[in-house]
Symmetry: C3
């Protein structure tokens, strides 16, 4: 099944691709590699979760936020790779594989479940891209993230064509 | 206008390329990708800013420090890519595009303006390389950075030839 | 001398390659680049060091932990690149060069010796791969890491063939 079909079968909809602020861009391609900028858990213009885990946000809510970061990355990928740049799902079908996720989790000192949080984004990639969605990953804690977000996820994918 | 000319027109001068300490190198090339090691805001051998934002350093001072990190990265790029390795500005003209910036900002808990700080480096790249200077970026907070620096910036560029 | 011979001459043994938890994989290849997931300092199933430097772990112990992270990355590289996937040392001989290390050190606020800690991994790479083991690096502090580990190291290598 193509990633675009898997995505639709999951009952998911692509969010509006978040715009980058100021002097950087949502994604940058070099050769067959597409680097997606660090994504925050924006949902309809609002952050799904802010503040550190676990004092301000539960592990489950942070995992859901990580998934939202992943969705926003997919929206940018689809928008960048679709023929007309219109954000069509078909852009996802040009992903040869997901290569790497970098996941930063706003953490209290002593919080150690960053992997469980990061799985929110990782599992989404596998659901959408299947075996090609399995990736290398670095998940770490951060004392503070942009706009107070609980999670930030950057994504590297290999592109075909 | 070539990047070397833009750079000069900005009234900028390349710093002496910082040497890496110990068992790593300032930059490493694979294929057409040049990975520049994380740069600190050294200016004439001294750090422009140390300690967290905002308790020890203002956002504006941290942004200036991020720009200095970027300048040091450019010095390494120029040195690595110039014909004789002499650090000539012409090395900058072999940058096909800036691909990714990783920006770590030493932050107090609750500080959320890492993007504004990171813009110091991002805007420099756009000023020097124009459209080719626009890049993907991940900007996050860090509890502590090497030598107490307020900012660390790593840079990935695509190289021609 | 081949990396596999250097490795043996150092009196080192490859650990069992750590398995990735859940929805990501130990390493992912794209073109000639092999991205190894962030490694923790597991030694025979137990973490060599947990908690921040310096309040819970000395710089020397953290450096040893960083070296163990590096060893685990080498085990994954050997396993991924050996013909039969059997984890033979010969897999190391297919590394054309070590390109980048990302090192996260669990740090108390005010700790500034992340480079000394990271050298544990960097020096291992140079010992095993010689000149080809010298790499670009970003070393930063982190408030908290997975499972409470003191260090996490991710590795990017260029592969031949």
């Amino acid at each position: 099944m193509l990633p675009s079909a898997r995505f639709a079968a999951l009952g998911l909809a692509l969010p509006t691709p978040p715009k980058a602020v100021a002097a950087y861009i949502p994604a940058c391609r070099t050769g067959n590699l597409l680097y997606v900028s660090g994504q925050l858990p924006f949902d309809s213009g609002k952050l799904l979760a802010t503040g550190p885990v676990p004092s301000a946000v539960t592990v489950d809510a942070a995992k859901a936020a990580a998934r939202q970061c992943g969705l926003n990355a997919l929206a940018i990928i689809a928008d960048t790779l679709s023929a007309g740049g219109g954000g069509g799902l078909q852009g996802l079908d040009r992903v040869a594989r997901v290569v790497r996720l970098g996941v930063f989790v706003c953490s209290d000192a002593g919080f150690i479940q960053q992997p469980q949080v990061a799985n929110g984004a990782s599992e989404l990639m596998e659901q959408v891209f299947g075996e090609a969605g399995r990736h290398a990953r670095a998940a770490v804690g951060s004392i503070a993230l942009p706009l107070g977000a609980t999670v930030e996820v950057e994504v590297l994918v290999e592109v075909t064509g």
